[in-house]
Amino acid sequence: MDSLERLDADIRANLSKGFVEAAESRLHWEYSSSFDDAERRGERFVYDRPDPITQALLERHMRTRASFGMTALTAAAFDVGADVEHLLLANGQRKPVVRTGCFCFIAETIHDLKHKPAFAAYKTGLARANTAIRQLELDLGDRPFHTADWSGCHLGVLLHGCRGDTFTRTGSGLSMFRIGFPNSAYDSWVWSKDVLSGQLSDDLGWTKMPLGKPPKQYDKVAVRLRSASERRETK
């Protein structure tokens, strides 16, 4: 079994439906939060044409959208009881990494569905762990000793984004959510599926409705003609 087959088998066997659903749900809430806040504050939107207020709100929304993915990732981890580690990067940023089963997940923003992996040193470091042979010791930076064990993990990435063209509910809401698994060089996806369109759940056999056919509703409105004698009695 080559590494790609093994990755595919692991995903089919171990990827948690609860984790993906929780992440999706939380991402929706996070993405809609900017618009909800603005609406609650009573911002006067001019729909269908750009104006300075909505433009500023949109820019702020787009700047902060990376945090939506990280919040959703952490919240989903709490939902399914997965471990969360925070990598402290050289520039002072903290990035959550979630370990659930044989996967570790990070989040990344995307502009379109053809998005290629965005290079970052810590991501490449994690991607190298995308093999069962290698024992990786990551320099987490926030601890005196390397205690986090990422061995044998597949790195998965929650890819999320919005249309971002207008500051409307649809323009700023979550419109893209994929789960991708990169190669060890972190420059292309070896396995990637769309969540919002149902591609992932269809592929993994996660059915929306409980198994079995819905029960048939029978027509019991039977109206029977009374016999002549019955009719006379009732008159």
Binding site: W29, E39, P214, D219, V221, L225, R226
Partner: protein
């Protein structure tokens, strides 16, 4: 000494006038009599002359013999009305008259045919309606679904579900759009009758209205006329029926499973499967705590902006047909199967205008099957 038509039934004149929406003064003018004379016809102090009865028949578009046919009931029906406050007395009386006509038609048809027996679900509810909690309502809706074998799936045909338990459904065209539905427990028929306004409705709305009215029948037997006149009580009773309708059409567990994120697009997709309106789903999400008040408000604002609450309507409103009642129509069909002369008899015993029969029963008393036998042509 009283002159005029001897067997004139005063209440029939009131019914016909209410049905056609005439005020007493207006009808008096049309008939060419004084308001006092009309009042005396209606309270039985005087009987109109035969030519006045003919005129009544022409103006009100009711058959002449309607005004001399005995009524089966004298009391005005105890009807649950939606939006009681905003509906005028005249509008209510017009539909009250139709409920009476429907009950009378049912009673006459019951002599010829055997209707499905009444089989309401057995619910364990507090004696008094004010003690019924939201939890009781959710549980009551679940019992109904269990009884009907529907599990946690969408109800394919709400009208059929109601008629399957022996409750006749009416779908008349009512001019006033605020009169969306009504429920009435008829003592003579020994069963309830519920209905919805067909004129200003969509499939999803009609289903919700029926579920709402069924809620009144199942939850509110202990409600008195005085309770309905108290605004606070009335609002509470309506809220309970709304909750029941939501719970019946989209049960709690299924809602939690299906609505992972509350948005208009999610509700639009669910509407296709569950046939419950988007706005009703927003209310349901709020009832079940899936969203907070602010989120519900912003969803309503968004729905308004999309035109869902205007004449444009919601997605699928123009594609999904409104469900049709079948019980009364099948009764007339069965009578017709027994012979055309029975239809003639029905026409006489149910003295209603053709358009009224069409709306209440879903067909007229005219034969639908040709009685002409076509012989094979000789070679």
């Amino acid at each position: 000494m009283k002159r005029g038509v001897a067997n004139f039934v005063p209440s029939r004149l009131s019914q016909a006038r209410s049905r056609r929406g005439f005020k007493k003064k207006e009808l008096a003018e049309e008939l060419g009599v004084s308001s006092e004379a009309l009042r005396s016809y209606e309270n039985g102090a005087a009987s109109p002359l035969p030519d006045k009865v003919r005129r009544m028949s022409d103006v009100l578009n009711f058959p002449e013999h309607f005004f001399s046919s005995a009524t089966l009931k004298s009391a005005s029906p105890h009807v649950f009305w939606r939006d009681l406050k905003s509906v005028t007395k005249a509008s209510r009386e017009a539909v009250d008259a139709r409920v009476v006509f429907a009950c009378e038609a049912f009673s006459v048809l019951d002599e010829y045919v055997e209707f499905p027996s009444l089989n309401l679900p057995q619910l364990k509810l507090p004696e008094h309606w004010s003690d019924i909690t939201d939890y009781d309502i959710e549980a009551a809706a679940e019992v109904c679904r269990l009884d009907w074998g529907l599990g946690e799936y969408p109800i394919p045909d709400m009208t059929l579900a109601v008629e399957n338990i022996g409750v006749p459904v009416l779908a008349p065209n009512i001019d006033n759009r605020k009169q969306s539905g009504f429920a009435h427990w008829d003592e003579v028929m020994g069963r309830p009758v519920i209905g919805h306004n067909r004129r200003h409705t969509t499939a999803a709305r009609a289903r919700f209205n029926l579920a709402h009215e069924l809620g009144h029948i199942l939850l509110h037997r202990s409600v008195s006329k005085e309770d309905l006149e108290n605004t606070e009580f009335f609002d509470y009773i309506e809220k309970q029926a709304h909750r029941f309708a939501g719970a019946l059409l989209f049960p709690r567990t299924a809602f939690y499973r299906e609505v992972r994120y509350a948005s208009l697009s999610v509700f639009e997709l669910l509407k296709r499967d569950w046939n419950i309106s988007i706005t009703a789903q927003i209310v349901r999400a709020r009832q079940l705590g899936v969203i907070d008040k602010n989120r519900a408000t912003s969803l309503f604002v968004a729905a308004g902006r999309e035109g869902y609450r205007s004449a444009k309507g919601e997605p699928y409103d123009d594609t999904v047909p409104v469900e049709e009642p079948r019980m009364l129509r099948r009764a007339v069909d069965a009578v017709e199967d027994a012979g055309e002369m029975h239809l003639e008899l029905l026409k006489h015993r149910i003295p209603l205008p053709e358009d009224e029969v069409q709306e209440l029963v879903g067909r007229t008393f005219e034969p639908t099957i040709s009685n002409v036998i076509h012989l094979r042509r000789p070679f």
